[in-house]
Symmetry: C2
């Protein structure tokens, strides 16, 4: 390829573009085609003929590699690609991602990434506003697990800044709390951070999968009695299975009383913030009414902090300490795009700075406050912010809101169908987030007495709230889900299950 590529500049890129256009990879695909032509690993290996040789490949062979990769890859932009907490991307999103790739920019200092540094700065500020915080800071990180670990690291640093230098070996065990329905990344973070999985307490949830605030309070007391040092609560906005939104406002009350950092894993459900109809689900991160009053007082220049009572009122305006939202999940931003936000300005830098003299010199000829490298765990960092900015600025917030509302509506429609339709049984009375959980009852099991034996026949039990195995459908914003997609999904299940 070395010599041919100089003669045929752009040929390969044109090939990729033609594949994308031919396969409708950005327009939504033909519903009658398959999401994936599944082939088992050993067979697929034979087809792919993966090989790296001393000599290179001809242009024809190279194009063949591209064709084969596309043919056997899952079509994430297919209307029936569901259930993976990410989905298709549209042309605007892909164009933003392609430009980022072509520029191959590393996002650590303003001088090497002038445009993208400002874009990240801008979009983080807009997200802080969107969540109705008065002030805040943030960083884009490579995914929700990493962002959740950012939250835990900052909470620990705020609890005891000495940990950065001294480590944990002479400290009481720090204890973190998260619901029994939360994502496993909280445990992974605790394990990597040296807290240990045993010091992550799984707090009980109600029948909808939402953390019970009183249980949190009790668990915190128990942990203290056992000699632990509670410091961190992870609340979830949009759990993985049920789509549950933990009651943030009440959890924030417990956190205030118990002096715990409130981190909100809104990786999945954070997209509700875009919708005026659904953003109330995130109440507790933001608090519009209270914030307005605060702004009003500030505007009149009245002394808002003139009593202890007012200090505590003020503190309750902004309840969560940190939030993560992954627009790459529901909103159709290409992977990876995870925004970590923290309400305490300066803390990211204090906690993470290494002050490497060779890179983050303070005597540069421009305003170095735009250099982000000392706020980040990563040194080199891929540009993840631009594709989000590009999607939002090109389509506008009205269009994004329309898409989000459409995804929620599709999930509600599916929940209604599942409740009405013979052979289907909802696990919960309605959808939560865009998650709809239900059982399929095969024809041979309908109209029978529903005792334990019957349920065991429906599926082998799995340890999810003691329920027997069920289907979970999650829906994303793009390609836009329609009622007919939901209908055809249930029809398909009926067809496949007819003989069971």
């Amino acid at each position: 390829m070395a010599h041919s590529s100089t003669n045929a500049q752009g040929a390969l890129l044109e090939k990729v573009l033609s594949i994308v256009e031919r396969e409708n990879l950005v327009k939504g695909m033909d519903e009658t085609k398959k999401v994936i032509d599944f082939v088992h690993p050993e067979e697929l290996k034979k087809i792919l003929q993966l090989d790296i040789r001393r000599e290179g490949r001809s242009l024809e062979e190279v194009e063949q590699v591209l064709e084969t990769v596309v043919r056997y890859s899952v079509k994430t932009q297919h209307p029936h690609f569901y259930n993976q907490l990410y989905g298709g991307i549209d042309e605007v999103a892909l164009a933003g991602a392609w430009l980022t790739e072509a520029l191959n920019t590393n996002q650590h200092t303003f001088e090497v990434a002038p445009v993208f540094t400002l874009v990240e700065h801008f979009i983080l500020n807009r997200l802080v506003e969107l969540f109705d915080w008065q002030d805040g800071d943030g960083i884009f990180s490579p995914g929700g697990s990493m962002s959740n670990m950012y939250g835990m690291v900052l909470a620990r640093y705020r609890k005891n800044p000495e940990v950065k230098k001294l480590g944990l070996s002479s400290m009481k065990p720090l204890v973190a709390f998260t619901s029994d329905q939360s994502h496993y990344s909280i445990g992974k973070a605790a394990s990597w951070m040296g807290l240990g999985l045993d010091n992550v307490i799984k707090v009980e949830t109600d029948s909808w999968g939402r953390m019970i605030p009183e249980s949190l309070r009790e668990e915190a007391a128990k942990a203290r009695l056992k000699g632990g040092d509670p410091f961190f609560v992870n609340a979830t906005s949009g759990t993985t299975v049920f789509g549950a939104f933990d009651p943030l406002d009440q959890l924030a009350d417990v956190c205030r009383d118990e002096n715990l950092w409130l981190h909100v894993d809104a990786c999945w459900g954070g997209t509700a913030i875009v919708s005026r109809k659904h953003r109330h689900l995130l109440h507790g991160i933001h608090s519009i009414r209270r914030t307005r009053r605060f702004k009003y007082l500030t505007y009149l220049r009245l002394p808002v902090l003139n009593s202890m009572n007012e200090v505590s009122t003020l503190a309750s305006f902004f309840r969560a300490d940190s939030v993560v939202w992954n627009p790459h999940k529901m909103l159709g931003v290409p992977l990876q795009c995870s925004a970590f936000l923290v309400r305490h300005k300066g803390l990211l830098h204090e906690s993470n700075s290494a002050s490497a003299t060779y890179l983050f010199q303070q005597d540069k000829f421009y305003d170095v406050s735009y250099d982000t490298g000392d706020k980040s765990f990563q040194c080199g960092r891929k540009v993840d912010a631009f594709k989000l900015y590009f999607l939002l600025t090109c389509h506008g917030m009205d269009e994004m809101e329309r898409r989000v509302d459409g995804a929620f509506r599709a999930a509600e429609y599916l929940a209604e169908q599942v409740a009405q339709r013979p052979g289907f049984r909802p696990v919960l009375e309605s959808a939560q987030c865009t998650n709809t959980c239900f059982w399929y009852i095969p024809p041979s099991l309908r109209h029978q007495q529903e005792n334990t034996e019957w349920w065991l026949k429906v599926e082998q039990p799995v340890p999810e709230k003691g329920l027997v195995n069920f289907f979970r459908m999650v829906i994303t914003c793009y390609p836009e889900p329609q009622s007919r997609h939901m209908d055809s999904l249930l029809n398909e299940m009926d067809t496949l299950g007819a003989d069971l």
Copy 2:
């Protein structure tokens, strides 16, 4: 954009392609143009007019956004873009990245990423072979800092698997060692992992910036005397400033004697593995001669493990426990591409598994050993392996070797010129890796007595081995560096410095 895009499918992608072709973003740019048209942050903000509105933008406005982003971004593919430990990418590399973006695949299970799971598996095995290990495992991670943390986490797990559950609070302080020239990510990892910066011992280096094995031995003894528990050594292959390669074979001897995990941060210098001429720099990770002998014995089916003595000989064939190489640095693979390799198969999974029942079911209908999600810290993971595979398979290893040798040759040429040319003074007698460090002596300071005052005039001192501030040039493989580029760099410095 919502409605126009459905009418003009592909228009935006074509626009991105036309910008890439027009600006020669994959061919190497016009040398007479600027790498960057530098504009200060506040001024650039005015030009960019960053804004997200309720309504979207017209196609014309959207194209304008793309044009402006490109105009004010650093051209990393410019022949004179140096010194950032990454650089330009060619058309093959970009085509691989674009296809990955278009498919928007999440690399955590075989069923959602069949092709890319096999590609990652294949390329990791090839890298294990390339480093001459008998066996091994690995994972692609979002950058060198994260990969270095993987190494430290595995080392800690192997030292004491209980840490995963119990945490560090009742343990002796674990102590890590790294050279005073190593990357700051080792400190960041120790801080995040709860070891504390104070438990990272900076081991002395020689005048070339290489860790001194005897100093490591002494520091380990000192740490034990102080009550610490040494467990981990980070050796560097290609330090950030001097490009130094730590003497791995000798460090491995110390690690064997002291029972320490040897991790090699070859993020930068690992690219030498591609070159038959330069791979000796990594000797100690691999050990060709000894490995051959081992293979020979295996072939003859002789009992190789028949005495304690032979066990220790065998162990010395494979010296490093883990290695990181970032092909996105010198080799011209698009950001991000960092391969973490570990010699102990199964350890990644043991250390990192969370066994999330909803995602990594063990009762799937295919061989689940291809699911990577439980080896990874991340849950969702961007596909980083394919663009590396695509670059290597399309160009072939001969072409990649030619490029690597070319980069090393350019650095050597620059070092020779700096040694000969009036007004330039090398910091070291030759280049290391592709790093060349030198001082520029302005005309007004030449032919004078070189006392402390004189050196202070050359530059303000910075704390890098007590030397006064100097220039560091680093060179990457693409676009291919030529002698004339090196000459023109020095000419430019001479011109700019003429009046100093």
